[in-house]
């Protein structure tokens, strides 16, 4: 039960490397925030600063309105689930879970009751006497979760907690984490590099890149109105296609001659046009609003088909997500029409979204929450 407020948090490591360049974020009580970004963008650094495991070089961190910059990890009342679980190998599952309570001087009987209660909640009651090395990966993950839950902390922190599990277990645990977090109502910050995990878990997503926040918002908001080319390419799978386009009489003209009518008011002469694979549809006849492409690879997924196609004069192949099973084969010519109402335009130089200059004042951005 807590709010978190991050105000211009910076981290410069002793070797002089600046991993975070001013992070602003306000996290509501009971909210599940997922921080997502490519490897090395500073996610773990941020989380470790929240935990108190890394010092804060500059800026202010507050939990429930109280500045905690200089508090020890133990004094912040947070729990953390590590990527490698960090279970104490010489203690039983019950002792692992009860360790924090013991440190706080909770009497033995009460400790036992709480550990058993939590074990029941997450299905560990038969494993309480085992040592970590006698558990499977999924069970270890559960113990790590249990160890966090039993403490009833103000904030949960998760650092890629599912990345050591196999795909199926990952999906199960993802659902379970979401369910538990909502049930317990504890504020949580969850770090991952997996955008699918991020999309399905998050109340709000924080997309990071190179030590900056690129955008904050609900998963759907980020999907529909990515604030930058980076976010557009990172959120959504398969990734968005990008094409160079020029302005011509209010329309957009592609190098291949295709013209796309757009309602966007574009002032730049040249822009980066983003089209999601699912917003390309197959048509039988070519006209001047379609793209004429050659199929390079087909991935039939059952519910839909991914066609990797090449457009003349375009270096990167495009991906189109076509409905159902499609009778296309390598080498075929495919006519694709972009959905003109769902295009994304980005500045070629800055990568910022063009039709959304005031992106920072949209309802789910942090500045409005802070205001």
């Amino acid at each position: 039960m807590a709010t978190l407020s991050l105000d211009a948090l910076r981290k410069t490591y002793p070797n002089g490397f600046t991993a975070l360049h001013g992070i602003d974020l306000a996290i509501d009580d009971g909210e599940l925030i997922v921080v997502v970004g490519p490897s090395g963008c500073g996610k773990s650094t941020l989380l470790r600063m929240l935990a108190g495991l890394e010092s804060i070089s500059d800026g202010e961190l507050a939990i429930d309105g109280r500045r905690v910059n200089d508090l020890e990890p133990a004094e912040r009342d947070i729990a953390m689930v590590f990527q490698n679980y960090a279970l104490y190998p010489h203690m039983s599952v019950a002792d692992n879970m009860g360790y924090a309570l013991k440190n706080r001087g909770v009497p033995k009987a009460e400790r036992r009751r709480k550990v058993e209660e939590t074990a029941r909640l997450i299905g560990l009651e038969d494993l309480l006497d085992r040592r970590p090395r006698q558990l499977s990966g999924g069970q270890r993950q559960r113990v790590a979760m249990g160890r966090a839950i039993v403490r009833e902390p103000k904030v949960f922190l998760f650092d890629e907690p599912l990345s050591n599990l196999d795909a199926k277990l990952r999906v199960q645990m993802r659902i379970e984490i979401r369910r538990l977090q909502k049930r317990l109502g504890v504020t949580a910050v969850y770090v991952t590099h997996d955008q699918v995990e991020a999309m399905t878990l998050a109340d709000r997503l924080v997309v990071m890149n190179g030590g900056h926040i690129e955008q904050v918002g609900t998963p759907m908001h980020l999907y529909e109105r990515p604030a930058s080319r980076f976010v557009a390419g990172f959120i959504g799978s398969p990734a968005m296609n990008f094409l160079d386009a020029r302005r011509a009489d209010g329309d957009l003209a592609l190098p291949c001659g295709t013209r796309i009518a757009t309602s966007h008011e574009v002032h730049n002469d040249a822009v980066c046009l983003g089209i999601r694979p699912e917003h390309l549809s197959r048509v039988s006849e070519a006209d001047d609003t379609t793209l004429t492409t050659r199929v390079e690879l087909v991935e039939p997924l059952g519910a839909d088909t991914l066609a990797h196609v090449r457009l003349d004069g375009q270096e990167e192949p495009l991906v189109a997500r076509l409905d159902g099973v499609q009778p296309v084969a390598e080498g075929d010519t495919l006519y694709l029409r972009p959905d003109a109402s769902r295009l994304h335009l980005f500045d070629l130089d800055t990568g910022r979204r063009l039709d959304d200059k005031d992106i920072h004042s949209c309802p789910s951005s942090p500045s409005s929450r802070l205001a």
């Binding site: 935990a51 104490y88 190998p89 010489h90 360790y99």
Partner: protein, 291 residues
Amino acid sequence: MATFQRHRLTPWILLAPQLAIVAVFFFWPAAQAVLQAFYVEDPFGLGRTFVAFENFTRVLASAEYYRALGITVAFSIGVALGAMALALLLAVLADRVIKGAHAYKTLLIWPYAVAPAVAGVLWMFMLAPELGLVSAWLGALGIDWNHQLNGGQAMALVVMASVWKQMSYNFVFFLAGLQAIPRSLLEAAAIDGAGPWRRFWTITFPLLSPTSFFLLVMNSVYAFFETFGTIDATTAGGPGGATRTLVYKVFEDGFVGYDLGSSAAQSVLLMLLVGLLTLLQFRYLERKVQY
């Protein structure tokens, strides 16, 4: 398979030099010692008489022997605990050092390269009653240091010299053990509300227990056998036998007293004792240190 059969002799030929060395310098003398333990030799070494277990009964009936046993136990506990505790302390500190860590570690490992006798002499000079630097400081503090007269001080001297020498060995193992503990465990413990002291005793120390156990065995063997040079160079078992450990007594009785039968019997007993000690440690301690 056939090619392997034909070369059955080759491994033995390759091993032969090593085996010959072990046989000549270890098995043969050891066998001689065991054999010797059952004979009494005449004073001029011209003939010997088989006496069965008389050498052993004589040794086990002598008060001198039990005194040496008691001294050895006290000495070994002092050396093992001292060397391990100090090494652990230094390793924990070294584990935290970031700048100049390499130089610091190298310096701490040096004493291991010093010969036992040299280590002993070093300490003896520092603590020499009339000339020593440290004994002068002690004198200033009102402590009258003279290990040539004071048995307790002599014991302290040999313990210190032996500890100093063995510490490096322990330090290397403890440091490696500490560095093998994942950082995230200590971080998790910190988040779980354990302060540095508690983290050490509830996480670090238990996780080091396999290392500690190994070192306990090694340090016991060291204290029993390998401190001979240190003792011989500093106190030569004195004053009045105050630092005469079992291994020193083996030497004294054999090569000073020329009672070879008794000396051999004592060395057999010593071997059995260390064997028994190691066995006990493995049986009762090792089980506790597994996790």
